[in-house]
């Protein structure tokens, strides 16, 4: 089974995000970068499929040279090799990122592509599904369980108010949702081994693409901070009953939400 995993390096979710002076990007200072949490699930699921079916796990990422760290983490978890696509000065929107990945993947042999359903920085929910379209393969999103049989993948997916099971013929792309698995930590021997695993970097030109076809259709005009919430009223009272009555009264008469 040839398995490809899409991965992105993102600021850790505990990060405080501040806007840079240009007003269209964030301040990189002091940010800790990690593998996107949904991509950890993707790497783990790929490793489990390889463990049961044999094959190779290849990680692909679009990002600056620094993003190689996140690929190395995936290699340390057990993936076999990595490809970093460095777009250089080009600012990629979600679709341009999918185009880069499609160009790298088209000449490759693969049975399954596994990706996080979104990256927790841009929150675009776009790259994985758009890539499936560009490759002309089916995609299944929000996967919490998958089984492979007879050239097909069957997935349990979360949807609003329930679940559904979707089946697709391989090759297919699946996008992970929390609950799929519990990602392993990279072991110390794993980290040592990862240093020797192949990780190649490709430029836009290496992929045979032209920056003109990758110009972003979505551009950030301005970033702003959401209105900061200030603490309101602490409900006082001698007993729980008094406080609860005061709260319900406030919600009913003042806030008018119940």
């Amino acid at each position: 089974m040839e398995i490809l995993v899409l991965l992105k390096q993102v600021p850790a979710t505990e990060s405080l995000i501040a806007i840079a002076n240009d007003r269209v990007s964030i301040k990189p200072d002091g940010l800790k970068y990690v593998m996107n949490p949904y991509d950890e699930l993707a790497v783990e699921e790929a490793l489990r499929i390889r463990e049961s079916q044999g094959g190779t796990v290849t990680i692909l990422s679009v990002g600056p040279a620094k993003a190689a760290e996140a690929i190395r983490t995936g290699l340390a978890m057990g993936a076999d090799k990595g490809i970093l696509i460095d777009p250089g000065n080009l600012t990629c929107d979600g679709l341009a990122t999918a185009k880069l990945l499609a160009a790298a993947i088209k000449p490759m042999t693969y049975d399954i592509i596994i990706a996080g359903h979104r990256a927790v920085d841009d929150d675009n929910f776009q790259v994985a599904t758009a890539l499936a379209e560009l490759l002309g393969i089916p995609n299944i999103s929000m996967v919490v369980k998958q089984t492979l049989a007879d050239g097909k993948i069957r997935c349990l997916c979360t949807v609003e108010g329930g679940t559904k099971e979707v089946e697709a013929t391989l090759p297919a792309l699946i996008a992970t949702q929390r609950g799929l698995n519990d990602p392993r930590y990279a072991s110390l021997p794993g980290i040592m081994k990862a240093k020797k695993k192949p990780l190649e970097t490709r430029s836009i030109a290496d992929l045979g693409l032209d920056a003109a076809g990758l110009q972003p259709l979505v551009t950030i005009k301005a970033l702003k901070m959401p209105v900061e919430r200030k603490g309101g009223r602490v409900i006082e009272g001698d007993s729980v009953a008094v406080k609860v009555a005061a709260l319900v009264k406030a919600l009913h008469e003042e806030a008018k939400v119940i």
Binding site: D122, D123, G231
Partner: protein, 321 residues
């Protein structure tokens, strides 16, 4: 430049999602700005009678793609039909609800048509002939104004962010021919909890956190029932295995914008706050007066949640009698 606005209506089990009506109302405002008309498309099977439910929201034309193959949503089949309709009616703006289905469909469509997509937007405007959308990034820690180039542009709207305003429209209902090529994915089973309101669309959300101390959420569920609310959980509660990941509110879970958010035993880590700060009114029940959530709540009740929550449930039941 005149641009029509096409809203992709989303129905599940024969009922339109609330966000569909929000998208129609937002679409009508946009159409007024672009000088175009509002159109809607419904996809499904056996949905003839359903389209009329959209008539009261100002659409000039309601298109219906009714085919057995569209009974259940699959990204591939719905993309094919939607792309065909777009080619035919040439809208300037395509609006969807930013639901599980809407986000997936929008992403595949953007690649099919090679057009701009802005996901999960909370506000929309037309500036100098260009659509500018406001969307949260970093789980809601930042808001971005993004400009969308090309035609059409696709925007998915976050549920519970747009005001629903019924409006008269011609509402002509038209059937759309459905031609499907190869579809390599299909829904083979589904399970829906009847009557359950999804977190993202609920008017009221009651969330339990680490302070719950274990998987027994019965007090939270009783309060949610009294309020007609959906039940959420903090990341800690999900990590402990007390609740399913589908219930998680926060940066690695769902973002919610209800009228009322009641956080019980939730400390208010930055990832959690990012996912619920756009709620209109926040109530925190926590015995720790130093918990970060207390500083963000409109109303804070500092006490033992196991005493407060049942008392609150009883008081609300009394109020609703």
């Amino acid at each position: 430049m005149t641009h029509n606005v096409l809203v992709v209506a989303e129905q599940i089990q024969g009922v339109f999602r609330k966000v569909t009506f929000e998208a129609l109302s937002a679409g009508l405002k946009l159409a007024a700005q672009t000088g175009g008309e509002l159109q809607a498309l419904v996809l499904g099977s056996g949905i003839d009678g359903l389209a009329a439910d959209l008539k009261a929201y100002g659409a000039a034309k309601i298109m219906v793609a009714d085919d057995a193959a569209l009974a259940d949503f699959t990204t591939e089949a719905y993309t094919q039909v939607l792309a065909g309709v777009i080619e035919q009616v040439q809208p300037g703006i395509v609006l969807l609800g930013a639901t599980t289905q809407g986000k997936d469909l929008a992403a595949r469509l953007s690649a099919r048509l090679n057009v701009a997509l802005a996901t999960d937007c909370v506000a929309l405007a037309v500036e100098a002939g260009q659509v500018v959308a406001t969307r949260p990034m970093y789980g809601g820690k930042i808001l971005a104004d993004v400009a969308l180039s090309g035609t059409p542009v696709i925007v998915s709207l976050r549920p519970n962010t747009q005001t629903i305003a019924p409006s008269a429209g011609a509402g002509t209902i038209e059937k759309v021919a459905v031609t499907l090529g190869a579809v390599r994915s299909q829904v083979v089973a589904k399970q829906f909890e009847s009557g359950k309101v999804d977190l993202t669309e609920a008017d009221i959300v009651v969330t339990g956190g680490r302070g719950m101390g274990g998987p027994d959420f019965s007090a939270i569920e009783a309060l949610a029932e009294a309020l007609g609310a959906a039940v959420g959980a903090s990341r800690s509660a999900v990590d402990e295995g007390w609740r399913s990941a589908a219930d998680q509110v926060g940066q690695t879970g769902k973002t919610v914008s209800p009228n009322l958010y009641v956080a019980c035993g939730v400390s208010g880590a930055i990832q959690h706050l990012a996912g619920m700060s756009s709620s209109k009114v926040i109530v925190a029940v926590n015995k720790d007066p130093e918990a970060p959530i207390i500083g963000k709540a409109d109303y804070a009740l500092v006490d033992d949640l196991f005493e407060v929550v049942p008392a609150l449930t009883a008081e609300i039941k009394k109020l609703k009698k």
